[in-house]
Amino acid sequence: MLARVADRVYWMARYLERAESIARVTNTFSHLMMDLPIGTELTWRTLLEIFEADKDFRKQEIAYGEISTLEYMIARPENMSSIFYSVKAARENARTTRDVLPEEVWESVNELYVYSKEFAHKSIDRRNRFNFLTNIVKRCHALNGLLMTSQIRDHTYRFIKLGHLLERIDITTRVVGTVYSAVESRDVKNRAFDSLIWAGLLESLSAIGNYRRSIGPMAEPHAAINFVFLQGRLPRSLVFCFSGIRKSLTCLNGHEKVIEPIDEALVMLDSFNAEKMSPKMMKIFVQDLQICAERLSLGATSMWFSSSSS
């Protein structure tokens, strides 16, 4: 398999996952902002912080607000963390790798792009937003289903899986890290509504139903974090994603070095318990996990995607 083709299918998968995650998180976040009583809510800035879009947003001297934030996260073509940008990038990568993917993949990615191009900028206000975000999530689901049911289990599939799961690790750690510190740092007396925020977090990571069934109806911060980090059967949990990548990469030449950070992360997670963590420790822990993910990404790039010249 050509290194370039491997690189492109990997990025296609990452961008597709990113588009879906942004849509999912943005949707939950916007519902949360409507539900929380005035004075107990988070700020719109938190949404930007989750996707590390805050700095660029401020550089452009845009005022924080619902519409400006959502326009930036949904439709802004130059924002590398917007839905539209992610969809476009996924399409560019799929376009030149059509021959290693099932035929319908290109068609569906292209349709997703055409849809986003037409509707993203019309879907900022509250009335159209929900519909658009839900549609993005559904279309991404359909694409994932297509890949899962028709992609031959070859190296292409393994790199798709790598991109897909690595992006999930990225999103899950960011959502937890940002929301946790945003909640902690608020100067709010009334914490009666915090469980809504934690339920929202679980919802944005497709974990709320499973959480209620296995833990209970009330979303508690520590239990929620433990759940999305450690529940190995939950497809967005860190343990699930790290182990999934590990399993998938072992078929590839040169995987031994690449998977080192995975093993480190799994060891860290093995002794993790949110209840025993101070907010400061939590912050450092999440950062360490993100560093593992970053090292994994760099390792894969230098091992397979750039293919040395000798």
């Binding site: 290194a3 370039r4 293919s307 010249s309």
Partner: protein
């Protein structure tokens, strides 16, 4: 218009009831591929004519819609360049196939092989002994000063003395029905994927016709291409590594590059996927490290193939690939420098080449050509421009062509100025009366002009596609068949007739 006022092909001889689809089908004095001058279908077209005469407008429309759908589903597209964006368009396809009798095609096929042998001998000679100059057959300056002559290829001797491994030769038929060569495309000829896809589409939308017709298959082209490319491999391993080198997604023929790679089971690579090491070996970058490449089927022009040797600003080429080729560590198809024979001035010397190198008489006619570099010819061209087709010697895709009878005064004046400035760059030919074939346009079947591009593969053996890509000018009276300029295409049937 009452067709009976004119001579030529008129359908509905006698008291036959005419299907409204065919009403006024009239092909002037042109040779019509389907209908003979007596108004009756030619032998190879009889079944086809009966079929399209038996259906009504609705069914015709249905078949056409089915064809368009098939093309979209199969993802057959080509890229149209425009000022602000490049768009993929569906391939324009006409549902009515074009037929040629097998016995009529075979001599043409043989003649194309003859031509390919002579052209390859010529290229080899130009880069080696240059006998054809010293023997005074072709003046050396017109070859050596051509931008397609590449001195970096001097002294090279590729396997089987084959340089132009893939050649797309454009043929037309004049009023007498005889085939003429219009030009030889020896650089990176395109269109063969569309030939294959046209057949696929036709099989889907006219399946019943294949029951009674004996039509030569075209779908082993990718296999023949693979065999030809494999025969060039410098390493004699049973499964050489073959790649298709594309300039990328923005090239108008990207669809074809991907299609051919896919159907040969070869990898589609971009310049950045390949590199050449210090021992002048070509490698591709894979997830398992570097893998040696034996044969590069390149779809990039000479000028861009190696920035070390040709244009240094090329972003799509492979630095060092010429070193590897010169050391015979990799085969490049078509060989660099092959374009030297793809020039409309050189074209006029091909009959001489056939006599000179092969000691044979050319069996395929060429179109009479006036070389503007010769004073007598130039004067003739300037005085008769309204009757001639003027072509730049080095362009492809119909770029810069002036069709005298179809151009206005201003265009003609501009063209004359260009000729006076750079006579070597222009040739002129009489306006040919291209043959026509029934084509479904504007809700009716009308005659439209067409040409034919067969593909010749030249490695250890020479192989010619049965038929080729038929391109048709969809505009009434138009002679421009290029897809980038509003042309369409037809499936081409070489038909075996039963005794």
């Amino acid at each position: 218009m009452h067709s009976s006022e004119y001579e030529g092909v008129v359908l509905g001889f006698g008291d036959e009831i005419i299907n409204p689809l065919w009403k006024d089908y009239y092909s002037d004095n042109f040779f019509d591929e389907m209908i003979a001058s007596d108004g009756m279908p030619r032998n190879a077209s009889k079944g086809l004519y009966d079929f399209f005469n038996s259906i009504d407008e609705k069914e015709m429309q249905d078949r056409r819609t089915a064809g368009e759908l098939a093309i979209r589903e199969m993802g057959v597209s080509f890229t149209v360049y425009s000022a602000d964006s490049n768009t993929d368009r569906d391939w324009p396809f006409d549902v009515i196939p074009r037929t040629i009798e097998g016995s009529e095609w075979d001599p043409v096929s043989e003649s194309l092989k003859q031509r390919s042998r002579a052209l390859n001998e010529f290229i080899h000679d130009v880069y080696n002994e240059q006998r054809i100059f010293s023997d005074g057959i072709i003046p050396s300056e017109i070859v050596l000063k051509s931008p397609n002559f590449k001195s970096a290829c001097l002294g090279m001797s590729p396997p089987f003395r084959a340089w132009a491994h893939i050649c797309g030769t454009d043929l037309v038929r004049d009023t007498d029905g005889e085939f003429y060569v219009l030009e030889d495309n020896l650089r990176v000829p395109s269109g063969v994927a569309y030939m294959l896809e046209n057949r696929e589409v036709t099989k889907r939308i006219l399946p019943e016709l294949f029951e009674h017709y004996d039509i030569r298959p075209v779908d082993d082209y990718p296999l023949q291409l693979y065999k030809m490319l494999a025969s060039l491999s410098p390493r004699k391993n049973p499964k050489p590594t073959i790649v298709v080198l594309t300039p990328g997604i923005f090239n108008s023929a990207y669809f074809e590059h991907a299609f051919l790679a896919h159907s040969m089971g070869a990898e589609l690579v971009e310049g950045g996927d390949l590199f050449v090491d210090d021992h002048n070996i070509v490698f591709k970058r894979t997830i398992d490290g570097a893998v040696r490449v034996d044969v590069v089927y390149r779809r990039i022009d000479d000028d861009f193939i190696d920035p070390e040797v040709f244009r240094p600003d090329s972003m799509v080429g492979v630095p060092g690939i010429m070193r590897a080729w010169r050391d015979n560590n990799v085969a490049i198809a078509n060989a660099p420098g092959s374009g030297v024979a793809d020039d409309k001035v050189i074209y006029s010397f091909v009959p001489e080449m056939i006599r000179y190198y092969l000691d044979e008489e050319p069996t395929l006619a060429s179109v009479e050509t006036y070389l503007c570099m010769n004073e007598a010819d130039r004067i003739y061209v300037l005085n008769n421009i309204e009757r001639l087709v003027v072509k730049p010697a080095n362009e492809s895709g119909g770029q810069g062509v002036l069709i005298g009878p179809h151009s206005n005064r201003e265009e003609k004046e501009k063209c004359k100025e260009s000729i006076a400035k750079q006579p070597r760059n222009y040739i002129a030919q009489p306006t040919l009366s291209l043959s026509t074939a029934p084509t479904y346009v504007d809700g009716k079947i009308n005659p439209r002009h067409l040409d034919l591009r067969p593909f010749i593969l030249h490695g250890r053996d020479i192989w010619v596609t049965p038929g080729g890509l038929t391109r048709v000018a969809l505009k009434r009276g138009s002679l421009v068949v290029n897809s980038s300029q509003g042309g369409g295409s037809k499936d081409t049937w070489i038909v075996e007739l039963k005794e």
